[in-house]
């Protein structure tokens, strides 16, 4: 297939065969303005980004450049000031379970057990499944994140890292089309962070959900992503550069670190950030 035609068209006919669009998420001329007493503050302007199906994209940029704003606009939690965002061609009008979110803080309901927290979403997305089926789904994903013994533990009884595991299970269990991750491991120590990256990428390998993840960590960005999107500093932030990471999947940390291109990619990102 000719990749050039695929990337630009929504859907197309080729040799009499209908190929559905490969674009999952489409951000067109996106703009975000916050009115302030001193006049409008433009956070994002002319931001264009297309994310393909089954793609893992990490977004990197300086603090306060508007990464989180962009992500919460995709999630539908923050209104759009200009341009548009569409998921499979349908414009985003508000939040919904087709876009799962993993927040920076685990945001578990502290009065619920790990299982109840995951079930909260599962019940909502699979209302016609039997109770047992729904519990099985929740348990499956808790098992996947390595929380077999903690189904009935209260969220407050879990460590920060374990809480974020529940957050990952909750997001995957609702079978979203797009997974949005807002620096999900930013608050964890580096050991736990590595563990959770492995868990995340393992589930993602299985489910192949389109993922958009914000991170501050250059190594994390390279290890997880198919493409690293670099954002310019605000105000009026937009996409500054995009770097394709051509490592084979499934990846291991070791193979990535030993790969000859690793330091080339790393240097590229650091040069951009230091500029």
């Amino acid at each position: 297939m000719n990749s050039a035609t695929i990337d630009t068209k929504d859907s197309y006919l080729e040799n009499g065969i209908y190929y559905p669009s490969k674009v999952m998420l489409d951000l067109k001329d996106l703009k975000k303005v916050y009115p302030t007493p001193k006049g409008d503050y433009v956070v994002l302007e002319n931001l264009n980004l297309q994310i393909m199906k089954e793609e893992f994209v990490t977004i990197i940029g300086h603090s306060g450049c508007g990464k989180t704003t962009m992500l919460s606009m995709i999630a539908g939690l923050n209104p759009i000031s200009g341009g548009n965002i569409s998921v499979l061609g349908n414009p985003v009008k508000g939040p919904g379970p087709d876009r799962g979110v993993i927040f920076q803080s685990p945001s578990l309901m502290p009065w619920m057990t790990a299982l109840q927290n995951v079930l909260l979403g599962v019940n909502q997305v699979f209302p016609h499944a039997t109770k047992k089926q729904r519990i099985d789904i929740a348990k499956y994903y808790l098992h996947k994140v390595g929380l077999d013994g903690a189904f009935n533990k209260k969220a407050t009884e879990l460590s920060q890292g374990m809480q974020q595991r529940v957050g990952i299970a909750r997001a995957f269990a609702i079978k979203p089309k797009v997974l949005l991750l807002d620096e999900p491991f930013g608050m964890l120590d580096s050991l736990t962070r590595g563990e959770l990256q492995d868990i995340l990428i393992e589930i993602w390998n299985k489910e192949k959900i389109t993922a958009v993840m914000i991170t501050h960590d250059v190594d994390e960005a390279i290890f997880l992503a198919d493409r690293v999107v670099m954002m310019t500093s605000g105000p009026k932030a937009k996409i500054g550069d995009v770097l394709n990471i051509d490592f084979e999947r499934p990846r291991t940390r070791k193979s990535v670190l030993e790969h000859q291109d690793y330091y080339k990619y790393r240097k590229h990102l650091i040069d951009f950030l230091e500029h």
Partner: protein, 366 residues
């Protein structure tokens, strides 16, 4: 060590019992025992100090009043009357005792006499019940009301009436304030609509609430033979005490963590689910803080309201003893004061226990 941890959890809200609990523990640990002895010891010393100061104070007041009485007799009626007065006071005759702050021993004696009085009245009641048993059976068979004992209420009865009233008032406050609090917490426009109402009525004194309730209930009860003092007092107590719960509930519901709301939005929970699975559980701790304040306010205003409503509780007891002016009236008032304080303290501990049960760290599934 594990044993001690569970022990601490169990006695939450009753920490003042902890030294005792530690003492009863099978396995004595030397420093723990020492520590708890120290803690109990300090409490005991402070109690003794308090009693000592009280004793000295009341003695000084007694002497002052006695001297005044004798001097008054001297200046008005001469030396002979003054001597008679002095002799009378020294003899301990109740007719000429100075009327002032009673000493701890007097209060203790009054407490015992109140209990003895209660036993007496209880015996009388039982005798009355057995005497009337046959007659009452007949009356009930005929569909008439049974004859009940209508004698004077004992001190213990007044305490029970007060507790009954305070719980009825508390329940009323809960039924009114929690639902309204939730509704106005959920809607910012309703919140501003209700705000003036809350701000204006919150500081109104219990006496005025009583008068308002009296106006309404009196009219509603026109023609009814039953006594409405209980109804009036518990409604007044409830209305007076509900504001803390109302404000706390509204605040708790309005200030749910933004993260939880975002989760609810992303999962597209319906309104019902959002309220009952996210908003309410997360505001429970604040609601219970409000209820705890409500209960202690209810107990505090109860005394004044019972007095006004002539409801046979502790408030009326205190007022009647004051009006009565008998020799041991002052001591009885102090007894009532301690009983009021101790019950208020226990009610607060009870609510604290409930409050800790619903806090996120250890509650069972909602």
């Amino acid at each position: 060590m594990k044993q001690e941890i569970t022990l601490e959890k169990e006695s939450q809200g009753l920490t003042f019992l902890k030294p005792l609990a530690t003492l009863f523990k099978a396995k004595f640990e030397k420093d723990v025992v020492l520590k708890s002895f120290k803690k109990t010891g300090i409490t005991l010393v402070s109690i003794l100090l308090f009693l000592g100061l009280w004793h000295l104070g009341s003695k000084a007041l007694y002497n002052k009043e006695a001297t005044y009485k004798i001097e008054k007799a001297l200046s008005e009626q001469g030396q002979e009357a003054a001597d008679a007065e002095r002799a009378c006071i020294a003899s301990g005759d109740s007719s000429c005792q100075p009327n002032t702050l009673p000493s701890p021993t007097q209060v203790w004696a009054s407490f015992q006499s109140l209990i003895a009085d209660h036993q007496l009245i209880k015996a009388k009641k039982e005798a009355f019940a057995t005497k009337m048993a046959a007659t009452n059976e007949k009356l009930i068979a005929q569909g008439k009301d049974a004859i009940i004992y209508t004698g004077r209420a004992s001190f213990v009865d007044t305490v029970l009436t007060s507790i009954k009233t305070v719980f009825a008032g508390f329940l009323l406050a809960l039924i009114i304030a929690v639902p309204i609090g939730i509704v106005i917490g959920l809607s910012p426009s309703l919140r501003s609509a209700f705000n003036w109402f809350i701000q204006i009525f919150k500081p109104v004194s219990p006496v005025v609430w009583y008068l308002l309730v009296f106006m309404i209930v009196k009219t509603l009860y026109i023609g009814a033979s039953s006594d409405n003092a209980f109804v009036i007092s518990f409604i007044s107590v409830g209305l007076c005490a509900m504001w803390a719960t109302l404000v706390n509930t509204a605040m708790g519901v309005a200030s749910v963590d933004k993260d939880y709301i975002n989760v609810a939005k992303v999962l597209k929970l319906g309104t019902f689910q959002k309220v009952f699975k996210v908003i309410l559980p997360s505001s429970l701790p604040l609601i219970f803080t409000g209820l705890r304040i409500t209960l202690s306010v209810a107990w505090m205003v109860l005394i004044a309201i019972e007095l006004l409503a002539q409801s046979p509780g502790l408030g009326l007891f205190v007022w009647e003893e004051f009006q009565n002016g008998a020799n041991d009236s002052n001591a009885k008032i102090i007894v009532a004061m301690f009983v009021i304080g101790i019950i208020g303290f226990l009610l607060d501990r009870l609510m604290l226990m409930v409050q800790q049960m619903v806090s996120f760290n250890k509650n069972e599934g909602i």
